[in-house]
């Protein structure tokens, strides 16, 4: 009797194992074949001199080359970090602010604003980019028209002496000028990044424990106190998630740069992602591109780790 029970248990366990792996098989095959395998290959080729004609082991040479490449260290790396350091806090604070306003609205209001802020994401990076390119155009763009009128107004009230040669001149080359190109890219990136965080914050805020808020309000807590002491700790996991995804997205900002500036003028909008693309697809230098890809992955992992650490100490 005892034996048959344990036998059937064993058979049961075997059945679970087989069934589990049969269910897993389709997704696992795709995952291993098209995500894990290329990831491993990326690491592998980063140690090789790998071009159209050449494939020889070179140790850490590609990595050393990256850190001696002034375009990589002085432009691509710095610009990427600037983009991340500006966009991540702005996206988080802005989407939190929007969410606190719209989550209290009636159903229609909430979903209307949610859609509006999601619009640039759904429109697609290419369509968004080409229209912004037109808006920024120095002859037919809307922005120069608006800035020129603003400049005229500033002149009229005596705040400015002349508009020639400034952003108010009416023919400022927004994307062609190193002073403004990166700023323009970051601005467009912001409009395409806040959609998802707003959706997440709205749902997190509506799930906050209401009895606590009511109790605090009865006790005469101000809005600010209710927010920072009751809601903020409860939406902390959402904040962390948003920090991480926004960081990853900002690091990978690519379409904007490829279509608007191609890294120029004079590398002022060069980023790691674009520089990898440039080296791999324009220079056919696969080994070097892979090494920079690994460096990028390590940097992103570091940023995420720091964010997790900060979030933990914040909670404790």
């Amino acid at each position: 009797m005892q034996k048959t029970v344990s036998l059937s248990m064993k058979a049961e366990r075997r059945r679970e194992n087989i069934a589990g792996y049969l269910y897993m098989a389709p997704s696992l095959i795709f995952f291993l074949g098209f995500v894990i395998f290329p990831m491993g290959m990326c690491l592998f080729t980063s140690f090789f001199d790998y071009t159209m004609t050449d494939f020889t082991f070179s140790g850490f040479q590609n990595y050393a080359r990256a850190f001696n490449d002034s375009i990589f260290t002085n432009h691509a790396l710095i610009n990427t970090i600037v983009i991340v350091l500006v966009s991540v806090p702005v996206v988080c604070l802005f989407s939190l602010w929007v969410a606190t306003i719209i989550y209290k609205m009636r159903d229609f209001g909430t979903s209307f604003y949610r859609c509006v802020f999601y619009l640039p994401v759904v429109t697609g990076s290419v369509a968004v980019t080409v229209v912004w390119k037109w808006i920024f155009n120095n002859y037919t763009g809307v922005l120069n028209f608006i800035m020129k009128n603003m400049g005229g107004m500033l002149q009229d009230i005596g705040l400015m002496e002349k508009t020639m040669g400034t952003v108010f001149s009416g023919n400022w080359n927004w994307l062609g000028n190193p002073a403004t190109a990166l700023g323009c890219i970051i601005m467009i990136l912001l409009t395409t990044s806040v959609g998802q965080p707003i959706v997440l914050y709205v749902s997190a805020l509506s799930n906050v424990n209401h009895s606590l808020i009511e109790a605090a309000e009865v006790d005469g807590a101000t809005n600010m106190q209710v927010f920072w002491r009751i809601k903020w700790p409860q939406i902390m996991p959402t904040t962390l998630y948003i920090l991480v995804i926004t960081t990853i997205n900002s690091f990978q900002c690519f379409a904007l740069i490829q279509l608007l500036t191609s890294g120029g003028p004079v590398n002022s909008t060069q980023t790691i992602m674009y520089y990898i693309y440039y080296n791999v697809f324009k220079m056919q230098d696969y080994g070097y591109g892979s090494a920079m890809g690994v460096i990028l992955a390590v940097i992103i992992a570091l940023f995420s780790a720091i964010q997790f650490k900060l979030a933990k100490t914040d909670n404790g």
Binding site: Y23, L28, F34, P38, R114, A127, V199, L200, I230, A255
Partner: protein, 297 residues
């Protein structure tokens, strides 16, 4: 669990002198009204690019190139669209629909099975597989594209739509999302089905599938929209004019005709209006997909 953390500050608040109730209500209202006004202005800025795409695509060439912007076209023309359709724009659109549709279908099938197994089947190595999926999700997707290109060339799939579809299906987000949804299936139900002699296939199609249907809906629409806009992957994998997606088509227009903004806007409208329409119709599912993916994320 948060109760214990939060009782302290509340007690502190109690001791504070109470402000006049009317005053605080009024300032609350004032803040709300000001914020809503600011919000409306920002919302207009967010809608403007789309407005500019659509109106721009119908403006006369003179209006497009006017130095004083034509805010609303009084003269409408379809000249840009007829120029656009001299190119294989419909084929680009068809390719995109094919890529998105097949990716969506395959992702839904593989992810619902995988997610169910991870949530409900106790097989050896489950924890390892799951943590692999989660870790892969945190890594930059673009980094794997270089070896992926070589892999696709090796499989002779480069320049076919499959080169975009297969990596999209492999991306772990779907499995992760479906695991979240499958957690809610009561174990007793599965046990009952097993006792009644239902096999694995029958259990999955008749019990599991109906219960995770909302999840599949969310995943389907999420996959469709993100695949539509996955420009980098398409850029690397597809070069032939025949296999271009609509995003690549617009990018091509812009690189060849960089200042013909009317034509470029017509392309942008063709590429974005269908997906926006789909988004607006299935908005509820989409939102659920995003929020469910973030829980425990």
């Amino acid at each position: 669990m948060d109760n214990t953390i939060n009782t302290k500050p509340i007690r502190k608040m109690k001791n504070k002198p109470q402000h006049g109730q009317d005053h605080s209500v009024q300032s609350k209202k004032g803040y709300f009204i000001v914020s809503v006004i600011v919000l409306v202005v920002i919302a207009i800025l967010f809608i403007f690019p789309l407005y500019w795409i659509i109106t721009g695509s119908f403006k006369t060439p003179q209006a497009v190139n006017a130095r004083v912007p034509v805010w609303f076209p009084l003269q409408w023309t379809t000249v840009h669209y007829s120029k656009l359709f001299q190119r294989p724009a419909f084929q680009w659109l068809g390719n995109t629909v094919l890529i998105c549709g097949l990716s969506m279908l395959l992702t839904c099938i593989t992810a619902s099975m995988g997610g169910y197994a991870l949530a409900k089947k106790k097989f050896i190595g489950r924890a390892v597989i799951f943590s692999m999926f989660v870790c892969a999700m945190a890594l930059p997707k673009q980094v794997i594209l270089i070896p992926l290109l070589k892999e696709m060339a090796f499989l002779r799939l480069h320049n076919t739509l499959w080169a975009v579809i297969l990596p999209t299906v492999g991306w772990p987000f779907g499995v992760f999302l479906m695991k979240q949804f499958s957690e809610n299936i009561p174990g007793e139900l599965l046990e009952a089905a097993r006792i009644d002699g239902a096999g694995e296939v029958l259990t999955f199609t008749n019990i599991v599938f109906p219960m995770i249907k909302p999840g599949i809906g969310a995943l389907a629409i999420f996959t469709f929209i993100t695949t539509w806009n996955d420009y980098f992957l398409q850029l690397i994998m597809l070069n032939d004019t025949k296999v271009l997606s609509i995003s690549l088509g617009i990018a091509k227009l812009q690189s060849e005709m960089s200042t013909d903004y009317g034509l470029i806007m017509a392309g942008a409208a063709l590429g974005s209006v269908p997906i926006i329409a789909i988004f607006l119709v299935f908005q509820k599912f989409f939102t659920r997909g995003i929020t469910m993916g973030a829980v425990k994320g």
